[in-house]
Subunit: 126 residues, 2 copies
């Protein structure tokens, strides 16, 4: 047996969605909020992730309705032609969500190491 060949490793990828009565927060809105914070505009944020503006708008409105809190502050017109900023509540959600994801990721790695001890990589077919 060639011991220099690397054993195939199982790497977990975990995703979390939050629900109230309806789905309201997940990877999509989290990424969108991060990009609004960077681009100061919902349109530019959507564009930067290849998402239609109308979809970004719907995702935001659904998240706000599901949580019952305002996530974006919009200004229209003005010298920058309008823009968007995160509310304090949006920052708290994003930060809580990111913390959960980070801790879940680390826990998932421990779990997989524990639960798949039997897995030694591909079966020998020779």
């Amino acid at each position: 047996m060639d011991t220099t060949e690397k054993k195939r490793e199982l790497k977990p990828v975990v995703s979390m969605r939050l629900f109230t009565e309806q789905k309201c927060f997940g990877p999509g809105i989290a990424e969108l909020l991060r990009r609004v914070d960077e681009h100061h505009s919902l349109r530019a944020a959507a564009q930067s992730m290849g998402m239609a503006y109308s979809k970004a708008w719907t995702i935001t409105k659904n998240a706000e309705a599901g949580l019952g809190v305002k996530l974006l502050l919009s200004s229209t017109g003005g010298k920058n032609g309008g823009g968007a900023a995160l509310t304090d509540e949006a920052r708290r959600f994003l930060s809580g969500y990111d913390n959960c994801c980070r801790r879940l990721k680390s826990f998932a790695a421990e779990l997989v190491a524990e639960e798949f001890t039997f897995y030694q990589g591909p079966e020998e077919t020779e």
Copy 2:
């Protein structure tokens, strides 16, 4: 304030996918394997979850290739017109996966209770 009104609760739903060099195990193949075990046929399993047989076949082959292990034993012909059964390895994967998901779910509930203490439900708009 009407204290009989229920505070909106955040409920997490977590999903885990496993990767080697490629995606190889997740909720789709797990559900498919459970149903093969129930229906003793990949075609019947796929049908029971509204999935095209060709898709079920591809998902299975991709998972087997990614993990480097055989998941399904197929028999063709015979008095039952062929069928499928889980390999021991498939049972071990399914069981490890289900354990991980159960433990992640319970951890996610703890995390959300910890990380979203600021969330008291919808803002008062009155």
